[in-house]
């Protein structure tokens, strides 16, 4: 298991789909609305080496109560500009599309965090700041410091995509069990 820390550099290029890692340091949450806002108004934090976490946390009294991942595929069409600006890791659940796989090539990785595991995530997080607060609790960009969050490399910088491999096998198995009439 490799221990990573933000800001990330070229060490992410050594990772392969299926590797287990932990991540420490600052990450920025962003969902649909934050991505759209950043495209029009600019990225409010330093993007070089940054990690984006697809997450809409529960925050109470400036404290993170629960912060698991949301479905990353919703950001399939919204992530290229982040990688162009130097973002090195996207974190979420469920994987992303072929467009993102291309955009990641030789530049960045997609890390999967276990869906639903919001309490464990929160227990390893400290809230450091917030941007776009007017978007509301779920959609704002929260700056969060992580302490060894356990992650799986879902998509690497060399075209490796664990989700796509699993999907392909599932399709084969389905077509065998239920042949077209």
């Amino acid at each position: 298991m490799k221990d990573l820390r933000t800001p990330l550099g070229d060490e992410v290029l050594d990772l392969r789909a299926g590797d287990r890692v932990t991540l420490s340091g600052i990450v920025y949450t962003a969902r649909d609305e934050a991505h759209q806002r950043m495209q029009t108004e600019g990225i409010p934090f330093r993007p070089e080496g940054a990690a984006i976490y697809h997450c809409g946390p529960v925050i109470q009294n400036e404290h993170i109560v629960a912060a698991g991942p949301t479905t990353s595929a919703r950001m399939n069409e919204l992530s290229g500009f982040l990688i162009d600006n130097g973002v090195k890791a996207l974190i979420g659940k469920g994987g992303m599309g072929t467009k993102v796989l291309e955009e990641l090539k030789d530049r960045a990785v997609y890390l999967a965090y276990t869906g639903g595991c919001a309490a464990l995530a929160a227990s390893r997080m400290t809230l450091k700041g917030v941007y776009f607060r007017d978007l509301g609790m779920a959609e704002a960009v929260w700056a969060i410091e992580l302490d060894h969050l356990p992650l799986t490399v879902g998509m690497d910088a060399h075209g490796g995509d664990l989700f796509a491999d699993v999907r392909k096998k599932a399709e084969c198995s389905f077509n065998q069990a239920f042949p077209k009439i």
């Binding site: 299926g18 287990r20 997450c55 809409g56 946390p57 529960v58 109470q60 109560v65 629960a66 912060a67 698991g68 949301t70 479905t71 595929a73 659940k93 469920g94 994987g95 999967a112 276990t114 869906g115 639903g116 595991c117 919001a118 309490a119 464990l120 995530a121 929160a122 227990s123 509301g136 609790m137 779920a138 356990p150 799986t152 879902g154 664990l162 989700f163 491999d165 699993v166 999907r167 096998k169 599932a170 399709e171 198995s173 389905f174 069990a177 239920f178």
Partner: protein
């Protein structure tokens, strides 16, 4: 102006709803926890084992800290069993909404309920027809909550088959999971409705999710095995456990119809029933 009796009913229902939501958001039912642990011991892939370990560790942290298991605390779906001696009044609906508002503040719950078109958030998990309340006559006065997350709800499906297409049910259930892949946070529980009407079959599918998952009949087991043969695994990263269980609820239907619905439930299969302290 409510009568003292109505005020007492309102308070009892609000308190029961709050208790049920607090419990449901922070603990999974014992049968679900046992199913996750069984899945952990039967997995052979390192990644699937690690995913299930993280889930089980997450449950321990949520319980220890008394915080929600998942940040998608769902929308409040509520089932009421109402005995004959309690009359159905507005105080019951208002009491449930009040319990939801209090839980939103105190658990806390993420405010998830928005207007479907303006997307304006009510801030308190209430809205037009929300909480979704289903009232049935029953022996005892109880409130059951099923906080439903969106990742799994969004991949649920419904179809109107012909009576001659009974053998298509299995294909439809497995295909639903094939399309869903890792999106609904597997290992899932599938609630399958068979029969009823177009609207009723989806209600049957959701009610199927209220059943304990520690036993399945032969057809449920057959469907569950067929889903697991896909190999989607925990979080879509591959593995032996794609579904923890399939539960079916049937309803009488028109001789010319065969409605089928699949309501997908993530591994955070939350449901709690509490007694209402009334009369």
């Amino acid at each position: 102006m409510k009568s003292p009796e109505e005020n007492r009913l309102h308070k009892a229902v609000s308190g029961a709803t709050l208790r049920a939501l607090c419990d449901a958001e922070t603990h999974l039912p014992p049968d679900v926890l046992a199913a996750l642990k069984r899945a952990r011991s039967s997995e052979t892939s390192d990644i699937a084992e690690a995913e299930l370990d993280t889930m089980i560790r997450n449950l321990e942290v949520a319980e220890r800290l008394g915080v929600p298991i998942c940040q998608d605390t769902g929308v409040p779906v509520v089932y009421v069993s109402l005995p004959l001696e309690v009359s159905l009044t507005e105080a019951i609906y208002e009491g449930i909404a009040d319990g939801v508002r209090r839980a939103t503040e105190s658990v806390p719950l993420r405010p998830n309920v928005v207007d479907p078109l303006t997307r304006e958030n009510s801030g308190d998990n209430c809205g037009e027809g929300m909480p979704a309340v289903h009232i049935r006559q029953g022996q005892s006065f109880t409130i059951t909550v099923l906080p439903k997350g969106a990742g799994s709800e969004n991949v649920s499906r419904c179809a109107m088959f012909l009576p001659s297409e009974k053998d298509q049910i299995k294909r439809f259930v497995v295909e639903t999971m094939l399309i869903a892949g890792g999106k609904p946070c597997p290992p899932v529980v599938l609630g399958v409705g068979i029969g009823g009407t177009f609207d009723g079959v989806t209600a049957l599918a959701k009610e199927a999710l209220l059943q304990p998952i520690d036993c399945m009949d032969d057809f449920e087991q057959e469907l569950c095995d067929a889903v697991n043969a896909l190999g989607i695994g925990p979080m879509g990263l591959g593995g032996a456990t794609t579904a923890l269980a399939v539960k079916i609820k049937r309803g009488g239907c028109h001789t010319a119809s065969l409605p089928v619905a699949v309501n997908v439930q993530c591994w955070v299969c939350r449901r709690v029933t509490v007694g209402v302290n009334y009369p």
